[in-house]
């Protein structure tokens, strides 16, 4: 178990593994009921006959799940302060029920904040693929981390 990561503990090119995590039909439907109640996210038959080709997660669900896998990989045990923007969240392929999602987050840039000396800014690029190696979701964005005071 490593201690909490601060801004100083990251370096450009660092890669954090994400997942694996199997997404179930039940959680796809449960998220859809709350946030995206469309037939192809709620019902297997409707999913099959739609452009998604099977019961598939809402894009907002796969994005949120990506965030959760980043938390489980390292963010929950870091000096994370928040963010104010993401460059993009791309849905390359539908995320289907029973997909086993895994991937990686790579640190692409690090710089101290000009306006807040106690804060550092990370740019990253992350992706998730399924068990067959089909890339499904990409997230490119920014996180703010606290810097070590001592």
């Amino acid at each position: 178990m490593i201690g909490q990561r601060s801004f100083e503990d990251f370096h450009v090119g660092q890669v954090f593994p994400l997942g694996p995590r199997v997404i179930t039909a039940e959680e796809i439907k449960s998220f859809a009921l709350e946030f995206d109640p469309q037939a192809f996210h709620l019902n297997e038959v409707a999913g099959e006959s739609s452009v998604l080709g099977g019961l598939a997660a809402s894009g907002f669900h796969s994005g949120a799940l990506m965030l959760r896998l980043i938390c489980d990989s390292f963010l929950s045990n870091s000096s994370i302060l928040g963010t104010s923007n993401m460059e993009r969240l791309t849905w390359l392929m539908p995320v289907h029920a029973r997909d086993e999602l895994s991937g990686a987050l790579e640190v692409t840039a690090l710089r101290p904040s000009q306006s807040r000396p106690q804060m550092g800014i990370m740019n990253f690029a992350a992706h998730l693929q399924n068990q067959a190696g089909v890339r499904k979701v990409e997230l490119v964005g920014t996180f703010f981390f606290g810097r070590r005071t001592t």
């Binding site: 995206d36 739609s50 809402s58 907002f60 994005g63 965030l67 938390c71 923007n85 993009r88």
Partner: protein
């Protein structure tokens, strides 16, 4: 898109989607499922953080756009079907970009969402679908708290045999 085919979409149109209320309960539930980090889960950590108190997760602000969109979209499809219009197959999103959270959102805030149709183009790779780009915003008391661009597929109107022949 709102019961309209790609060919019927008017660029520049602004559509009010309705509101979502952020509550202590739905903010907490989203954090526990998708963003279990100290400043989101713990009051003391939140107090020391950038916002000085607990705030909603940024992705929650994006996700809450969707039930508003689906609600209006469904309403419009029902209205147009009742008026005898034929409806396109429902399309899907391809992604979001330029996602911004200029202000934090707190429990008790009501965010009103709207979408503006920005651009559309036909797709050589998918003759039955067109690509629509829209700008989406969530406002609290008239101030933007979340903004993102999105790309989605919208079904193209099927050509009649007459149109195909000519």
């Amino acid at each position: 898109m709102m019961g309209l085919y790609f060919d019927e979409l008017e660029i520049g149109r602004v559509i009010e989607l309705g509101a979502y209320e952020f509550t202590v309960e739905n903010i907490r539930a989203f954090k526990e499922k998708f963003a279990p980090v100290p400043f989101h889960l713990d009051d003391a950590e939140a107090a020391k953080g950038l916002f000085g108190q607990q705030v909603a997760v940024g992705f929650h602000l994006c996700a809450a756009w969707m039930p508003c969109f689906v609600g209006i979209n469904t309403q419009e499809r029902i209205r147009l079907a009742g008026a005898g219009k034929d409806l396109p197959e429902i399309g899907v999103g391809l992604g979001m970009s330029d996602i911004r959270w200029p202000r934090p959102v707190f429990a008790g805030d009501v965010v009103e969402y709207r979408t503006t149709l920005v651009a559309k183009r036909k797709l050589a790779s998918r003759p039955n679908w067109g690509l629509l780009e829209n700008l989406n915003e969530g406002l609290r008391d008239g101030e933007v708290v979340v903004r993102f661009s999105a790309k989605m597929l919208v079904a193209r109107r099927k050509l009649s045999s007459f149109e195909i022949a000519f």
